[in-house]
Amino acid sequence: MQNKNLFDYVLRLADTSLIYGQRLSEWCGHGPVLEEDIAMSNTALDYLGQATNLFKYASELEGNIRDEDQIAFVRDLSEYHNLLIVEIPNGDYAVTIARHFLFSQFYFLFLEQLQNSKNEFLSGFAQKSIKEVTYHLEHSGNWVKRMGDGTEESHNRIQKAINQLWEYTGEFFDMDELDKNMLEVGIAVDNAALQSEWKSRIVEVLEEATLLLPADGWHHSGSKSGKHTEHFGFILVEMQYLQRTFPGAKW
């Protein structure tokens, strides 16, 4: 393949969108209120849409030897490189909202930079996707404020959620060999450079929500080398069931 590095870099983005879409779609029919059920399902579709675009591009880069469905659904656990935060269980709605907020704030800043990528596809992809992610950020931020500055129960749940998810946020800013190489050729984003801006925006919302910032400690990582949490296997079982039972199935 011509550009293995580019393929791998695109795959990381595609996997994060795919697995996040898969996780969020678990809320469909189970949302706390009708309006949020629809909102979360919409968000899941936004991410599946992003994943489709990215996997199609990945398939092109590979010379179309696999189509986008084959790449997306027929790989082994260690071949997926999504950010770990998107694979953990949805929990209650506070956990989902907290994760949505923490991730969307990062992803917004990331896409903002990706718009400047020298790769035409990635730059166009970023310009298009940032609109929906801006909405996700707005929506989840408002909910964090409502839960934090809400009842005693909602406040406790969202604080617990933020505390629980904090150790997954460090991974956003990791830069491994591939990231550094792609950054050098002007294609990738400097994840590490986003960290202080991300933190200050998170703090701003948490303060308004009367929530406390968790202390920094150990952070999960490993997705870039294909290491996952214990939850990931279960997602794959559901997600891959159709393609593995009926290989090459089409609608």
């Binding site: 209120v33 009708l34 309006e35 629809i38 909102a39 919409n42 929506h139 408002n142 409502r146």
Partner: protein, 129 residues
Amino acid sequence: MKLTIIAGILDNRFKFEGINFIHLLVFTPKLEPLQMSKDWPLWEIFIRSKSGLAHKHAGSLHAADARMAIENARDVYTRRMEGISLWVVRSRDIVASSPDEKDILFDPANDKVYRHPTFYDIPPEIGHM
């Protein structure tokens, strides 16, 4: 005090039937519920499409406040490119004419052609007016 409370109850019941006789007797301040409630109020949603001129009623939904109502309306009613502008109004703020009054409100306009400006000859250069 008792009269005020009774008037308050009657006030709500007869809200849509014009001037309330009780209003003339006793001043009843409009009671806005300020206590916290678990129930989200109902909002009516109006959408204007890209090519449209007016906001059309699209349906209703529940939301805790105006911003949430806008976001919920966006999620629930504009999924398929239905529009580019949203109005959200609390359902309780909408005052509707009563169907019983249909005759007295609208029939008189039926047979008054002299109210329609259709007897002028518009020169073709003017176009549509």
